[in-house]
Symmetry: C2
Protein backbone atom coordinates (compact mmCIF):
# COMPACT_ATOMS: atom_id res chain seq x y z
CA UNK A 1 0.00 0.00 0.00
CA UNK A 2 1.35 3.38 -0.99
CA UNK A 3 -1.76 5.35 -0.23
CA UNK A 4 -4.78 4.60 1.91
CA UNK A 5 -7.80 6.08 0.14
CA UNK A 6 -10.26 6.97 2.86
CA UNK A 7 -13.77 7.91 1.79
CA UNK A 8 -16.16 9.27 4.38
CA UNK A 9 -19.24 8.25 2.45
CA UNK A 10 -22.80 9.62 2.29
CA UNK A 11 -21.72 12.23 4.80
CA UNK A 12 -24.39 14.30 6.50
CA UNK A 13 -23.07 17.52 4.98
CA UNK A 14 -25.14 19.85 2.80
CA UNK A 15 -26.37 23.40 2.42
CA UNK A 16 -29.80 24.15 3.79
CA UNK A 17 -32.16 22.64 1.23
CA UNK A 18 -34.57 24.82 -0.78
CA UNK A 19 -37.59 23.37 0.98
CA UNK A 20 -36.41 24.91 4.25
CA UNK A 21 -35.12 28.34 3.24
CA UNK A 22 -38.36 30.07 4.20
CA UNK A 23 -38.76 28.31 7.54
CA UNK A 24 -38.96 30.98 10.29
CA UNK A 25 -36.23 29.36 12.44
CA UNK A 26 -33.89 29.20 9.44
CA UNK A 27 -34.60 32.82 8.44
CA UNK A 28 -33.95 33.90 11.99
CA UNK A 29 -30.64 32.04 12.12
CA UNK A 30 -29.62 33.42 8.71
CA UNK A 31 -30.28 36.95 9.93
CA UNK A 32 -28.17 36.35 13.02
CA UNK A 33 -25.28 35.11 10.89
CA UNK A 34 -25.71 37.75 8.18
CA UNK A 35 -25.96 35.10 5.47
CA UNK A 36 -28.59 33.85 3.05
CA UNK A 37 -30.23 30.60 4.17
CA UNK A 38 -28.99 28.81 1.04
CA UNK A 39 -25.37 29.74 1.87
CA UNK A 40 -25.43 28.03 5.26
CA UNK A 41 -24.82 24.41 6.22
CA UNK A 42 -27.65 22.33 7.55
CA UNK A 43 -26.96 21.48 11.19
CA UNK A 44 -29.30 19.32 13.21
CA UNK A 45 -28.17 20.81 16.51
CA UNK A 46 -29.44 24.21 15.33
CA UNK A 47 -32.14 23.34 12.77
CA UNK A 48 -33.72 20.42 14.55
CA UNK A 49 -37.27 21.78 14.45
CA UNK A 50 -37.04 22.91 10.84
CA UNK A 51 -35.76 19.45 9.82
CA UNK A 52 -38.78 17.68 11.22
CA UNK A 53 -40.43 17.06 7.85
CA UNK A 54 -37.28 16.63 5.81
CA UNK A 55 -37.03 13.26 4.03
CA UNK A 56 -34.23 11.00 5.26
CA UNK A 57 -33.58 13.56 8.04
CA UNK A 58 -31.84 11.06 10.33
CA UNK A 59 -28.97 10.82 7.87
CA UNK A 60 -28.59 14.58 7.36
CA UNK A 61 -27.22 17.76 8.95
CA UNK A 62 -24.21 16.54 10.95
CA UNK A 63 -21.13 18.52 9.81
CA UNK A 64 -19.52 17.72 13.17
CA UNK A 65 -19.04 14.09 12.04
CA UNK A 66 -17.00 15.32 9.08
CA UNK A 67 -15.05 17.72 11.30
CA UNK A 68 -14.05 15.14 13.95
CA UNK A 69 -13.23 12.45 11.41
CA UNK A 70 -11.00 14.73 9.36
CA UNK A 71 -9.18 15.94 12.48
CA UNK A 72 -8.53 12.35 13.55
CA UNK A 73 -7.16 11.44 10.13
CA UNK A 74 -5.20 14.57 9.24
CA UNK A 75 -3.24 14.72 12.50
CA UNK A 76 -2.10 11.09 12.27
CA UNK A 77 1.47 10.02 11.52
CA UNK A 78 0.24 8.02 8.50
CA UNK A 79 -1.17 11.18 6.96
CA UNK A 80 1.85 13.26 7.91
CA UNK A 81 3.93 10.74 5.99
CA UNK A 82 1.77 11.42 2.93
CA UNK A 83 0.14 7.99 2.97
CA UNK A 84 -3.52 8.95 3.29
CA UNK A 85 -5.84 10.50 0.73
CA UNK A 86 -9.17 11.56 2.20
CA UNK A 87 -12.39 12.27 0.35
CA UNK A 88 -15.64 13.43 1.86
CA UNK A 89 -18.52 12.15 -0.24
CA UNK A 90 -21.84 13.70 0.74
CA UNK A 91 -25.38 12.45 0.77
CA UNK A 92 -26.12 14.91 -2.08
CA UNK A 93 -23.34 13.42 -4.24
CA UNK A 94 -20.74 16.10 -3.82
CA UNK A 95 -17.13 15.13 -3.23
CA UNK A 96 -14.65 17.16 -1.21
CA UNK A 97 -11.06 16.40 -2.13
CA UNK A 98 -8.95 17.04 0.97
CA UNK A 99 -5.33 18.05 0.51
CA UNK A 100 -3.43 16.06 3.12
CA UNK A 101 -1.47 19.18 4.06
CA UNK A 102 -4.57 21.16 5.07
CA UNK A 103 -4.62 22.41 8.65
CA UNK A 104 -8.32 22.48 9.39
CA UNK A 105 -9.74 24.94 11.92
CA UNK A 106 -10.12 23.15 15.23
CA UNK A 107 -12.93 25.50 16.17
CA UNK A 108 -16.26 24.13 14.91
CA UNK A 109 -17.77 27.47 13.95
CA UNK A 110 -14.72 28.34 11.88
CA UNK A 111 -14.85 24.91 10.25
CA UNK A 112 -18.48 25.56 9.32
CA UNK A 113 -17.51 28.95 7.87
CA UNK A 114 -14.75 27.32 5.83
CA UNK A 115 -17.03 24.64 4.39
CA UNK A 116 -19.65 27.27 3.53
CA UNK A 117 -16.92 29.16 1.69
CA UNK A 118 -16.02 25.91 -0.07
CA UNK A 119 -19.61 25.46 -1.26
CA UNK A 120 -19.60 29.03 -2.55
CA UNK A 121 -16.23 29.07 -4.37
CA UNK A 122 -15.78 25.31 -5.01
CA UNK A 123 -12.31 25.59 -3.55
CA UNK A 124 -10.55 27.07 -0.53
CA UNK A 125 -8.56 29.12 -0.35
CA UNK A 126 -10.12 30.69 -3.48
CA UNK A 127 -6.61 31.60 -4.69
CA UNK A 128 -3.37 29.60 -4.66
CA UNK A 129 -2.96 25.87 -4.06
CA UNK A 130 -6.38 24.52 -3.11
CA UNK A 131 -6.60 22.76 0.26
CA UNK A 132 -10.19 21.68 -0.24
CA UNK A 133 -12.03 21.37 -3.55
CA UNK A 134 -15.68 20.53 -4.12
CA UNK A 135 -17.21 18.90 -7.14
CA UNK A 136 -20.39 17.09 -8.19
CA UNK A 137 -19.60 13.41 -8.23
CA UNK A 138 -21.37 10.31 -7.07
CA UNK A 139 -19.67 7.58 -5.11
CA UNK A 140 -19.44 5.18 -8.05
CA UNK A 141 -17.68 7.79 -10.18
CA UNK A 142 -15.30 8.56 -7.33
CA UNK A 143 -14.44 4.90 -6.81
CA UNK A 144 -13.93 4.45 -10.56
CA UNK A 145 -11.59 7.45 -10.65
CA UNK A 146 -9.42 6.04 -7.83
CA UNK A 147 -9.11 2.65 -9.61
CA UNK A 148 -8.88 0.73 -6.35
CA UNK A 149 -7.49 -2.76 -5.98
CA UNK A 150 -10.14 -3.39 -3.32
CA UNK A 151 -13.04 -1.51 -1.71
CA UNK A 152 -13.61 -2.28 1.95
CA UNK A 153 -16.73 -0.92 3.65
CA UNK A 154 -17.06 -0.70 7.43
CA UNK A 155 -20.65 -1.51 8.31
CA UNK A 156 -22.50 -3.43 10.99
CA UNK A 157 -24.15 -5.25 8.06
CA UNK A 158 -20.77 -6.80 7.21
CA UNK A 159 -19.16 -10.03 8.32
CA UNK A 160 -17.62 -9.93 11.80
CA UNK A 161 -13.86 -9.71 11.64
CA UNK A 162 -11.16 -8.44 13.98
CA UNK A 163 -10.23 -4.88 12.99
CA UNK A 164 -6.50 -5.54 13.11
CA UNK A 165 -6.93 -8.41 10.61
CA UNK A 166 -8.74 -6.01 8.29
CA UNK A 167 -5.87 -3.53 8.58
CA UNK A 168 -3.33 -6.24 7.83
CA UNK A 169 -5.17 -7.10 4.62
CA UNK A 170 -5.64 -3.41 3.70
CA UNK A 171 -1.90 -2.68 3.75
CA UNK A 172 -1.26 -5.66 1.44
CA UNK A 173 -3.42 -4.05 -1.22
CA UNK A 174 -1.97 -2.00 -4.06
CA UNK A 175 -4.53 0.78 -3.87
CA UNK A 176 -7.18 0.15 -1.23
CA UNK A 177 -10.29 2.21 -0.57
CA UNK A 178 -11.81 2.27 2.89
CA UNK A 179 -15.43 3.39 3.14
CA UNK A 180 -16.77 4.69 6.44
CA UNK A 181 -20.24 6.20 6.80
CA UNK A 182 -20.30 9.93 7.55
CA UNK A 183 -23.81 9.84 8.95
CA UNK A 184 -25.19 9.33 12.45
CA UNK A 185 -27.75 6.53 12.01
CA UNK A 186 -28.85 3.81 9.66
CA UNK A 187 -26.79 2.14 6.95
CA UNK A 188 -25.02 2.73 3.66
CA UNK A 189 -27.34 2.80 0.66
CA UNK A 190 -27.63 -0.34 -1.48
CA UNK A 191 -25.46 1.32 -4.11
CA UNK A 192 -22.49 1.54 -1.77
CA UNK A 193 -22.94 -1.93 -0.38
CA UNK A 194 -22.96 -3.30 -3.94
CA UNK A 195 -19.83 -1.35 -4.88
CA UNK A 196 -17.88 -2.81 -1.94
CA UNK A 197 -15.70 -5.87 -2.43
CA UNK A 198 -15.72 -6.54 1.28
CA UNK A 199 -18.12 -5.49 4.01
CA UNK A 200 -16.67 -5.78 7.49
CA UNK A 201 -18.14 -5.44 10.96
CA UNK A 202 -15.47 -4.78 13.58
CA UNK A 203 -17.57 -4.35 16.71
CA UNK A 204 -20.94 -5.62 17.80
CA UNK A 205 -22.39 -2.11 18.10
CA UNK A 206 -22.14 0.81 15.68
CA UNK A 207 -19.05 2.92 16.32
CA UNK A 208 -18.85 6.59 15.44
CA UNK A 209 -17.10 7.44 12.16
CA UNK A 210 -14.24 9.29 13.87
CA UNK A 211 -13.55 6.33 16.15
CA UNK A 212 -13.36 3.91 13.22
CA UNK A 213 -11.17 6.37 11.32
CA UNK A 214 -8.66 6.70 14.17
CA UNK A 215 -8.39 2.92 14.60
CA UNK A 216 -8.09 2.11 10.91
CA UNK A 217 -5.29 4.63 10.54
CA UNK A 218 -3.42 3.44 13.64
CA UNK A 219 -4.12 -0.18 12.73
CA UNK A 220 -2.57 0.35 9.28
CA UNK A 221 0.48 2.01 10.86
CA UNK A 222 0.87 -0.99 13.12
CA UNK A 223 0.48 -3.40 10.22
CA UNK A 224 3.10 -1.43 8.27
CA UNK A 225 5.45 -1.23 11.24
CA UNK A 226 5.44 2.58 11.15
CA UNK A 227 6.51 3.99 14.48
CA UNK A 228 8.58 7.10 14.35
Amino acid sequence: MKILNFILAESALELIPKSLINHPAILNYAKKRGKKPEQMLLDRSIHHTAMRNLPNAFKRGRPDIVHFTLLNILGSPLNRKGMVKVYVHTIQDKVIDVNSKVRLPKNYNRFIGLIEQLYEFKKVPPKGEPLLTLKDQNILELIKEIKPSKVIAFTTLGKPIILQKVCESIVKEDNPIVLVGGFPHNHFSEKILKASDEKVKVYNEALEAWIIAARVIYGCELALGINF
Copy 2:
Protein backbone atom coordinates in the same frame (compact mmCIF):
# COMPACT_ATOMS: atom_id res chain seq x y z
CA MET B 1 -5.69 -3.84 34.34
CA LYS B 2 -9.29 -3.42 35.38
CA ILE B 3 -9.54 0.30 34.71
CA LEU B 4 -7.45 2.61 32.59
CA ASN B 5 -7.27 5.93 34.42
CA PHE B 6 -6.90 8.57 31.75
CA ILE B 7 -6.03 12.09 32.87
CA LEU B 8 -6.11 14.88 30.33
CA ALA B 9 -3.69 17.06 32.29
CA GLU B 10 -3.18 20.83 32.49
CA SER B 11 -6.03 21.19 30.03
CA ALA B 12 -6.59 24.57 28.40
CA LEU B 13 -10.02 24.93 29.96
CA GLU B 14 -11.05 27.81 32.22
CA LEU B 15 -13.56 30.58 32.68
CA ILE B 16 -12.59 34.00 31.35
CA PRO B 17 -10.08 35.29 33.90
CA LYS B 18 -10.82 38.40 36.00
CA SER B 19 -8.12 40.40 34.23
CA LEU B 20 -10.08 40.15 30.97
CA ILE B 21 -13.69 40.66 32.04
CA ASN B 22 -13.64 44.35 31.15
CA HIS B 23 -11.96 43.92 27.78
CA PRO B 24 -14.23 45.43 25.08
CA ALA B 25 -14.14 42.31 22.86
CA ILE B 26 -15.10 40.13 25.83
CA LEU B 27 -17.92 42.47 26.92
CA ASN B 28 -19.22 42.48 23.38
CA TYR B 29 -19.19 38.70 23.19
CA ALA B 30 -20.85 38.40 26.61
CA LYS B 31 -23.65 40.69 25.47
CA LYS B 32 -24.17 38.60 22.34
CA ARG B 33 -24.44 35.44 24.42
CA GLY B 34 -26.52 37.04 27.18
CA LYS B 35 -24.04 35.92 29.85
CA LYS B 36 -21.67 37.59 32.26
CA PRO B 37 -18.03 37.47 31.11
CA GLU B 38 -17.02 35.48 34.17
CA GLN B 39 -19.59 32.77 33.33
CA MET B 40 -18.10 32.05 29.92
CA LEU B 41 -15.25 29.79 28.88
CA LEU B 42 -12.07 31.31 27.54
CA ASP B 43 -11.70 30.36 23.87
CA ARG B 44 -8.70 31.40 21.83
CA SER B 45 -10.58 31.20 18.56
CA ILE B 46 -12.93 33.92 19.81
CA HIS B 47 -10.85 35.81 22.39
CA HIS B 48 -7.55 35.84 20.55
CA THR B 49 -7.02 39.60 20.73
CA ALA B 50 -8.09 39.88 24.36
CA MET B 51 -5.65 37.08 25.29
CA ARG B 52 -2.66 38.89 23.89
CA ASN B 53 -1.29 39.99 27.27
CA LEU B 54 -2.40 36.97 29.27
CA PRO B 55 0.45 35.10 31.00
CA ASN B 56 1.07 31.59 29.69
CA ALA B 57 -1.51 32.31 26.94
CA PHE B 58 -0.20 29.62 24.58
CA LYS B 59 -1.34 26.93 27.01
CA ARG B 60 -4.83 28.39 27.60
CA GLY B 61 -8.26 28.77 26.04
CA ARG B 62 -8.69 25.58 24.00
CA PRO B 63 -11.88 23.80 25.12
CA ASP B 64 -11.99 22.07 21.73
CA ILE B 65 -9.04 19.88 22.79
CA VAL B 66 -11.06 18.63 25.76
CA HIS B 67 -14.13 18.11 23.57
CA PHE B 68 -12.38 16.05 20.85
CA THR B 69 -10.38 13.99 23.32
CA LEU B 70 -13.42 13.09 25.40
CA LEU B 71 -15.40 12.14 22.28
CA ASN B 72 -12.58 9.86 21.14
CA ILE B 73 -12.40 8.15 24.52
CA LEU B 74 -16.06 7.93 25.45
CA GLY B 75 -17.20 6.33 22.18
CA SER B 76 -14.56 3.60 22.33
CA PRO B 77 -15.32 -0.06 23.00
CA LEU B 78 -12.94 -0.01 26.01
CA ASN B 79 -15.01 2.73 27.62
CA ARG B 80 -18.31 1.10 26.67
CA LYS B 81 -17.09 -1.98 28.53
CA GLY B 82 -16.60 0.21 31.61
CA MET B 83 -12.82 -0.04 31.54
CA VAL B 84 -11.89 3.63 31.28
CA LYS B 85 -12.11 6.34 33.90
CA VAL B 86 -11.46 9.82 32.47
CA TYR B 87 -10.51 12.94 34.38
CA VAL B 88 -9.97 16.38 32.93
CA HIS B 89 -7.44 18.24 35.04
CA THR B 90 -7.22 21.92 34.12
CA ILE B 91 -4.42 24.43 34.12
CA GLN B 92 -6.18 26.19 37.01
CA ASP B 93 -6.19 23.01 39.12
CA LYS B 94 -9.80 22.02 38.71
CA VAL B 95 -10.69 18.40 38.06
CA ILE B 96 -13.68 17.25 36.05
CA ASP B 97 -14.74 13.73 36.92
CA VAL B 98 -16.34 12.25 33.81
CA ASN B 99 -18.97 9.54 34.25
CA SER B 100 -18.16 6.97 31.58
CA LYS B 101 -21.84 6.77 30.67
CA VAL B 102 -22.13 10.46 29.74
CA ARG B 103 -23.22 11.17 26.18
CA LEU B 104 -21.52 14.47 25.49
CA PRO B 105 -23.01 16.94 23.02
CA LYS B 106 -21.29 16.46 19.66
CA ASN B 107 -21.99 20.10 18.82
CA TYR B 108 -19.21 22.32 20.07
CA ASN B 109 -21.39 25.24 21.13
CA ARG B 110 -23.59 22.94 23.17
CA PHE B 111 -20.52 21.38 24.74
CA ILE B 112 -19.33 24.86 25.73
CA GLY B 113 -22.76 25.60 27.23
CA LEU B 114 -22.62 22.36 29.20
CA ILE B 115 -19.16 23.05 30.62
CA GLU B 116 -20.20 26.59 31.55
CA GLN B 117 -23.14 25.07 33.40
CA LEU B 118 -20.71 22.69 35.10
CA TYR B 119 -18.57 25.60 36.31
CA GLU B 120 -21.71 27.27 37.66
CA PHE B 121 -23.32 24.31 39.44
CA LYS B 122 -20.25 22.08 40.01
CA LYS B 123 -22.17 19.20 38.52
CA VAL B 124 -24.35 18.45 35.51
CA PRO B 125 -27.10 17.69 35.34
CA PRO B 126 -27.67 19.74 38.51
CA LYS B 127 -30.17 17.08 39.72
CA GLY B 128 -29.97 13.29 39.60
CA GLU B 129 -26.91 11.13 38.93
CA PRO B 130 -24.08 13.51 37.98
CA LEU B 131 -22.47 12.91 34.59
CA LEU B 132 -19.80 15.53 35.12
CA THR B 133 -18.60 16.94 38.44
CA LEU B 134 -16.13 19.72 39.03
CA LYS B 135 -13.90 20.22 42.04
CA ASP B 136 -10.79 22.11 43.10
CA GLN B 137 -7.94 19.65 43.07
CA ASN B 138 -4.37 19.74 41.86
CA ILE B 139 -2.83 16.97 39.82
CA LEU B 140 -0.80 15.55 42.73
CA GLU B 141 -3.92 15.23 44.87
CA LEU B 142 -5.77 13.57 42.01
CA ILE B 143 -2.98 11.07 41.43
CA LYS B 144 -2.79 10.32 45.14
CA GLU B 145 -6.54 9.71 45.26
CA ILE B 146 -6.38 7.19 42.40
CA LYS B 147 -3.55 5.25 44.10
CA PRO B 148 -1.99 4.19 40.81
CA SER B 149 0.40 1.29 40.36
CA LYS B 150 2.19 3.37 37.73
CA VAL B 151 1.92 6.85 36.18
CA ILE B 152 2.82 7.06 32.50
CA ALA B 153 3.12 10.47 30.87
CA PHE B 154 3.04 10.95 27.10
CA THR B 155 5.46 13.71 26.23
CA THR B 156 8.01 14.47 23.55
CA LEU B 157 10.43 14.96 26.46
CA GLY B 158 10.18 11.25 27.25
CA LYS B 159 12.21 8.32 26.06
CA PRO B 160 11.35 7.08 22.55
CA ILE B 161 9.35 3.87 22.68
CA ILE B 162 6.90 2.18 20.33
CA LEU B 163 3.35 3.05 21.39
CA GLN B 164 2.13 -0.52 21.23
CA LYS B 165 4.88 -1.57 23.67
CA VAL B 166 3.67 1.12 26.06
CA CYS B 167 0.12 -0.19 25.78
CA GLU B 168 1.28 -3.75 26.46
CA SER B 169 2.95 -2.61 29.66
CA ILE B 170 -0.04 -0.45 30.65
CA VAL B 171 -2.47 -3.36 30.58
CA LYS B 172 -0.16 -5.42 32.82
CA GLU B 173 -0.49 -2.79 35.55
CA ASP B 174 -2.97 -3.13 38.39
CA ASN B 175 -4.17 0.45 38.29
CA PRO B 176 -2.37 2.53 35.67
CA ILE B 177 -2.69 6.25 35.08
CA VAL B 178 -2.05 7.67 31.64
CA LEU B 179 -1.28 11.40 31.46
CA VAL B 180 -1.82 13.26 28.19
CA GLY B 181 -1.48 17.03 27.88
CA GLY B 182 -4.74 18.88 27.22
CA PHE B 183 -2.98 21.96 25.86
CA PRO B 184 -1.89 22.99 22.36
CA HIS B 185 1.78 23.89 22.77
CA ASN B 186 4.71 23.49 25.08
CA HIS B 187 5.22 20.83 27.74
CA PHE B 188 3.91 19.50 31.02
CA SER B 189 4.99 21.50 34.05
CA GLU B 190 7.90 20.20 36.12
CA LYS B 191 5.44 19.05 38.78
CA ILE B 192 3.79 16.61 36.39
CA LEU B 193 7.04 15.35 34.96
CA LYS B 194 8.28 14.64 38.48
CA ALA B 195 5.08 12.82 39.43
CA SER B 196 5.40 10.46 36.45
CA ASP B 197 7.03 7.06 36.85
CA GLU B 198 7.59 6.84 33.12
CA LYS B 199 7.79 9.50 30.44
CA VAL B 200 7.29 8.16 26.94
CA LYS B 201 7.65 9.68 23.49
CA VAL B 202 5.78 7.71 20.86
CA TYR B 203 6.38 9.82 17.77
CA ASN B 204 9.09 12.19 16.68
CA GLU B 205 6.71 15.15 16.47
CA ALA B 206 4.06 16.28 18.94
CA LEU B 207 0.72 14.60 18.31
CA GLU B 208 -2.59 16.16 19.25
CA ALA B 209 -4.14 14.98 22.52
CA TRP B 210 -7.16 13.40 20.82
CA ILE B 211 -4.91 11.42 18.47
CA ILE B 212 -2.85 10.03 21.36
CA ALA B 213 -6.04 9.26 23.28
CA ALA B 214 -7.57 7.28 20.41
CA ARG B 215 -4.39 5.24 19.91
CA VAL B 216 -3.78 4.51 23.58
CA ILE B 217 -7.34 3.25 23.96
CA TYR B 218 -7.23 1.10 20.83
CA GLY B 219 -3.71 -0.04 21.68
CA CYS B 220 -4.88 -1.22 25.12
CA GLU B 221 -7.82 -3.05 23.53
CA LEU B 222 -5.39 -4.81 21.21
CA ALA B 223 -3.06 -5.68 24.07
CA LEU B 224 -6.02 -7.06 26.03
CA GLY B 225 -7.39 -8.97 23.03
CA ILE B 226 -10.71 -7.13 23.20
CA ASN B 227 -12.50 -7.31 19.87
CA PHE B 228 -16.24 -7.64 20.04
